[in-house]
Structure formats: structure tokens, C-alpha cells
Symmetry: C2
Subunit: 293 residues, 2 copies
Amino acid sequence: MRNINEDTITQAVIASFAKCENSRLRTIMTSLVQHLHAFARDVHLTEEEWFNAINFLTEVGHITDDKRQEFILLSDTLGLSMLVTSQNNRKPSNCTEATVFGPFFVEGAPIYNNGDDISNGATGAPCYVSGQVRGANGDAVPNAWLDVWQSDDEGFYDVQKPINASDNILQARGRLKTDAEGFFNFRSILAEAYPIPHDGPVGRMLAATGRHPWRPAHLHFMIAAPGYETLITHVFRDGDQYLDSDVVFGVRSTLIAEWVRHEPGVAPDGKLRETPWYSLNYDFVLNPAVVSA
Amino acid sequence: MRNINEDTITQAVIASFAKCENSRLRTIMTSLVQHLHAFARDVHLTEEEWFNAINFLTEVGHITDDKRQEFILLSDTLGLSMLVTSQNNRKPSNCTEATVFGPFFVEGAPIYNNGDDISNGATGAPCYVSGQVRGANGDAVPNAWLDVWQSDDEGFYDVQKPINASDNILQARGRLKTDAEGFFNFRSILAEAYPIPHDGPVGRMLAATGRHPWRPAHLHFMIAAPGYETLITHVFRDGDQYLDSDVVFGVRSTLIAEWVRHEPGVAPDGKLRETPWYSLNYDFVLNPAVVSA
């Protein structure tokens, strides 16, 4: 090992993992070192560029706290999150596709009944969401738990607003169950396109590489039911200008739906709306879980 | 871009850099994404492993401050630092090889004259260091600035000791100049092997992969003179048990030297030493700088 040079160092590092008892970890570290070194060789990374990368990662680490996860943003914006999601969620083509989880899910959101208003004070045009959860064989899935979360009309999630964070107010997110026929419905607000947090190092990376920080309007769903794989996905709003340039590469054409605009009048909850309102109907198809022998 | 799938996402991310005006940055980001995605595919990275990686990097970021640079430690222990150093410091074979800079250099170390004791209170067996700085053509290099830094007999650099950090005491490091014939000499202490800081996430990675955290004993040098490339290197102590398993892959056989042990008696500075002392003689050969046209 004392005669390592530019050409032999990769094998020397890989050899250093020879005593790793966790064979999966050894596989991962070996591949990581091979690709990391191949990258540095391919671009002939300079010492100054390496140092800039160290400083960049340091900034990513320092801006990350319990409210903001800049490493996930970095993974998202480099397409790594979507790749990992895709390769771990291969499904029959009649099942609903998965997409990225994102950084804005919160454990312990309020529990609602079908028909409830989950906006809880978040601002935006009223939007009535309904649909059915089915299995791949067409059977309705009753009592499936749906987690829903979304941004408001200013493009912010509740947890991004200082006043909500301090008072622990959860808005435009909730948990509800499908009924005996697998149906669900709730009132929320119209989802709007929004930029990911871009006042940090990831935002600087996007600007330097000529990219915008926007995500097309979408509604997050996580759907769990016994006997099925948990589905983490979004429904995207048709017509959004960012559908073809989602900064986190999360759009799938099968996940785009029409959010129908309605003129003022009687809404699905029987109330008279004096301003335009929207409705979205979208069904989800779950993949049966593989049963261990 | 709305029909991205597991196979096409890499090209979609690369295409997102199309408007990047800095062509070097575009090259780097393109290669980075290709290798990052290839790694995730090769090992079929799971969502849980991805999340563990996010948490690992978050810890690396949070332990990093102005005194500790865990990202550099990570780069060092994965051999990336040495690879980048090697590919950016190709020299004729008669020139002294470069090695990693490491995290313990300090700007503004005390200036000493030849013959001075640079230990400044650091503990360890006395060690008298001497040598000559020459150019690749054999010419002596007068008035070259030498920066020297090293650990003490407990394996700690001055900046790792809380008492030094608070009082800003710099020990066993200094700057001095070669004389008119290119010679230098100073008294310091015997360098000892030491573990890199391993109470953080990088230490956990080393333990999990069956690696020790030790570096063989060495003395750091940075040598700068007009007309020559600045040389950043170490001299390693022959016989050290970690020469073949340096945790940062920094050893080069040409950089190993004998640190001669002397029984008690008169030392090079004319003083009578009542305990054993050491001497090291090592010459450095600098590569002429490329003159821009």
C-alpha cells in the first residue's frame, strides 16, 4: 500500500474494505469508491474544484436542521431520489406509479372523516377531491389509510411558515380512511406550483446551472392498506407550465389529472360558493404485497 | 420530461443542464449525475439505504465546524483526496512527490530562523531535522519558504487541544526559509502515529467497514519558491506499523525516510541530551513552474 499511485489508488481503497463483515455494506462502499474515483478522473477534478465541493457540502450540512433537509433537496434536484424511488417501486402497468416522497411530510397529521375540510385555514380556491382505492385485480380496498399533504396558494407548506411552526398548526394535510367501497372524498384548496427552497446552496447550484427551482402543482398521497404495497405518489395538475421541467423530475404522465374549474354555484358539499371552485377525481390502484413464505 | 422512467431519468437530468453557461460546470455536473446514477443502479440502492446515506451526510455536516472538517476526512478516507492530489501534481520522476494536505494546516504559523526549536512546548523526544531544497535541474533553491506542521507524542496537533485553541498557542508548527545554499534545519519533536478524529460519522464508517483510523508517523511540509510549483507533502517515518495501511492512502515509498535514533549525548545544537534524540535528513526537489506565454 505504500506504492499507491494515481492509477492504483482505487484498488487500494477497495482492498481496505476486505475485513468488512457486512457484505452488503462492502458491496455499496466498493461501488461508491469506483464511481466516485471514475468521476474525479473523467473530469480531471482540480484541487480548487475539490475544495469548492467540500465547501458546498459543508454549507448543505449547515443549513440542514429539523425543519429543512438540504441533502434531500440535493438528491431530489440531481434526480437521485426519483431513480431510487423508481427502481424500488416497479409495478404492473395497471398500478398507480410512485413518485418522490419529498421533504414536507409530517407524522401525526390530523385525522379527518370523508367529506371534511382538511385545509384547516390554509388559503386558496376550494377544491373537492374524490376517488376510489382499488387493488390490481379491481377489488375495492376499504379502510385504506390516505395521508394527504399539499402547499397553499402562495406555494408554501404549513411547516414552512414560521407562525405555524411555532404554534404547531398543521394545515392542508390530514389522514382519512376509504369507506366500505374504497371511496374517499375531502375538501381542500387548489394546489399551486411552487419553488423548492432555493435560498441555500442547492438554489445556488440550480441558478449556476441555468435551472429554475419550480415544481408543478400537485397533491401528495401516501396510501397504506394491509395486503398491499404502500403507495407514495402525487397527482399533478394538468396544464401546469412546469410539468415538463419539474425541478425534482417527479412527473409521470399517468399521474397528471384534470382539476376541473367550476363557476360560482353549489359545490359537492351542498354549499353555495360565490367564487370559482375546483374538483379533482382520481382513482388509485395498489400493488398486492409480496407475501413472504 | 413528463414520461421519465427509471431508464431515462439520467438523460433527463443531464438535459436540465442545457442552459448552463459555464461549460466546465456543465461538464462536471453531467459526469457527476452519470456516475451517481450508475452507482445507485449498480448496487440497486434501496430507499432505506438512501435514507441512511442522507442521515450520514447530515451528521457529517453537523459535526463540521471551523475546527473540524468531517467532509475532508470523508474524502481522505475514501481515497478521493489522494486521487485528486495525484492527478493534479504529475511531476518528473526526480521531483519530490506530493501527498494530501490534510485538515491540520494553520495560516500564520510562527516564523523561525534555521536552527530554532519549533516545538514551542509540544511534548516528545527531540528531533533535529535538516535538508536541502533543490530544483529539478539540481540547483539549490535559496529563500524558499518552508511551512512545517506535525503532531506531538500523544498523536495530537496543537489545534486539537482545547487549551491551545482557546489561547491560540501554536506548537510544533512554523515557517522558515532556506539559506543561500538552499539548506534548512530546525529542532522539533519526534512525530508519532495517530488516529484521525474517529468519534464521528467517518469513524463509524471506518469501524463498520473493518478499517482502523491510524496514520503512520509523518512530518508535513509545504514548500514555496518563485519559479517553482508549490510542493505539499509529508515525510514518513520508516518502520511505522501503519505505512502499509494509512487510513488516508497518503504514503509514497519515496517519501519514507529514516529517523535516526541517537543515544544520550551531544545533539546537533551543541546541547547535551540526557535522553535519546532523533535526527532526520531529507532533501526536497521542486518542479519548475510552467511559465504562461
